[in-house]
């Protein structure tokens, strides 16, 4: 196993710093929202984690296509890393949304189009790991995984677009509301916390992806060694 490269060490350090700054901006710098109170601060991490969650699912679909075209196992490693890291972040998104919904909507959960599609997306990617665990042959596993992420990748844009296409109580943050939906208005300080949150989670996502890809390389090596020892 190659030692951790300098760029990764720098990225680890940067991730810790940007996470700290994002937390400070969200909890201290951004003003308290007048209608919802302190719970609105959850929104900065909710959006940040949702962004990298959906981004990872799209990247996994792209890696799936790349694997099917090239048959290069490095794309499979990339795909697994993207799905795993995104599933973790998207789980945080869903739970933070539920925590915000309790005082805002007076319920932990409602079968609103956005919440429903988000839950389905998360379940699709949990099932992805169950599928992979059931296949022993690495090439077959990579091929099935690639096709699965390609199909599953459709759920990410649907989750993003659903509140713009259907009647939903979920607020719209990016883009204009269509008149029946709530649009989130932010002050300039709130925008700073919001955009820095997006930036911070992008850095953290890249860092975690890199670590997970390296872990995938180790898993592959163990699998190959097991085969040679058992023969």
């Amino acid at each position: 196993m190659q030692p951790r490269p300098l760029a990764l060490k720098i990225l680890d350090f940067a991730s810790v710093i940007v996470l700290g700054v994002a937390t400070y901006l969200a909890l201290v710098f951004a003003p308290t929202e007048a209608v919802m109170g302190q719970v609105q601060r959850v929104f900065y991490f909710h959006i940040g984690t949702a962004w990298v969650g959906l981004l990872g699912f799209i990247l996994a679909a792209a890696a799936g296509i790349a694997y099917l075209v090239t048959k290069d196992m490095r794309w499979d490693r990339f795909e697994v890393a993207a799905v795993e890291v995104s599933t973790v972040f998207f789980f945080i998104t869903i739970v933070l949304g539920s925590i915000w919904a309790r005082p805002a909507w007076n319920t932990w959960w409602t079968w609103d189009p956005r919440l429903t599609t988000a839950a389905i997306t998360e379940l699709i990617y949990i099932a992805y790991f169950m599928l992979r665990q059931g296949i022993d042959d690495p090439e077959k596993r990579a091929r099935f995984g690639a096709v699965y992420t390609l199909l599953g990748g459709v759920s990410a844009p649907i989750t993003f677009m659903v509140i713009r296409l259907f009647r939903s109580i979920h607020p719209i943050v990016i883009g204009a509301a269509n008149g029946t939906q709530e649009k989130m208005n932010m002050t300039s300080d709130m925008r700073v916390a919001f955009f820095f949150g997006l930036f911070a989670f992008t850095i953290i996502f890249i860092d975690m992806m890199w670590h997970r890809i390296r872990l995938g390389a180790l898993e592959e090596k163990v699998e190959q060694l097991k085969l040679t020892v058992s023969m």
């Binding site: 196993m1 937390t23 909890l27 308290t32 929202e33 007048a34 209608v35 919802m36 109170g37 302190q38 719970v39 609105q40 601060r41 959850v42 991490f45 909710h46 984690t49 973790v88 789980f91 945080i92 739970v95 933070l96 925590i99 915000w100 309790r102 005082p103 953290i204 975690m208 670590h211 997970r212 390296r214 872990l215 180790l218 898993e219 090596k221 163990v222 060694l225 097991k226 040679t228 020892v229």
Partner: protein, 62 residues
């Protein structure tokens, strides 16, 4: 009608941030553990592999 006071929702905010940090911490720790376990597996498997190659070379000499 305007709200006279900002609603007290600090507990939900604390719960949200605590949850986010705990989950991220658990994930990072799980990656650390998996990494350590895989490295140990590689060491064991490599030693088994070298033993196996030694045995096969000695049996060929006989």
């Amino acid at each position: 009608m305007f709200l006279e006071t900002i609603p007290e929702t600090s507990n939900y905010m604390i719960a949200g941030y605590a949850f986010a940090f705990v989950i991220m911490g658990i994930y990072v720790f799980s990656m650390y553990l998996r990494n350590a376990n895989l490295k140990r597996d590689i060491e064991t498997l490599e030693s088994l592999q070298s033993e196996k190659s030694k045995r096969s070379s000695s049996s060929k000499k006989k």
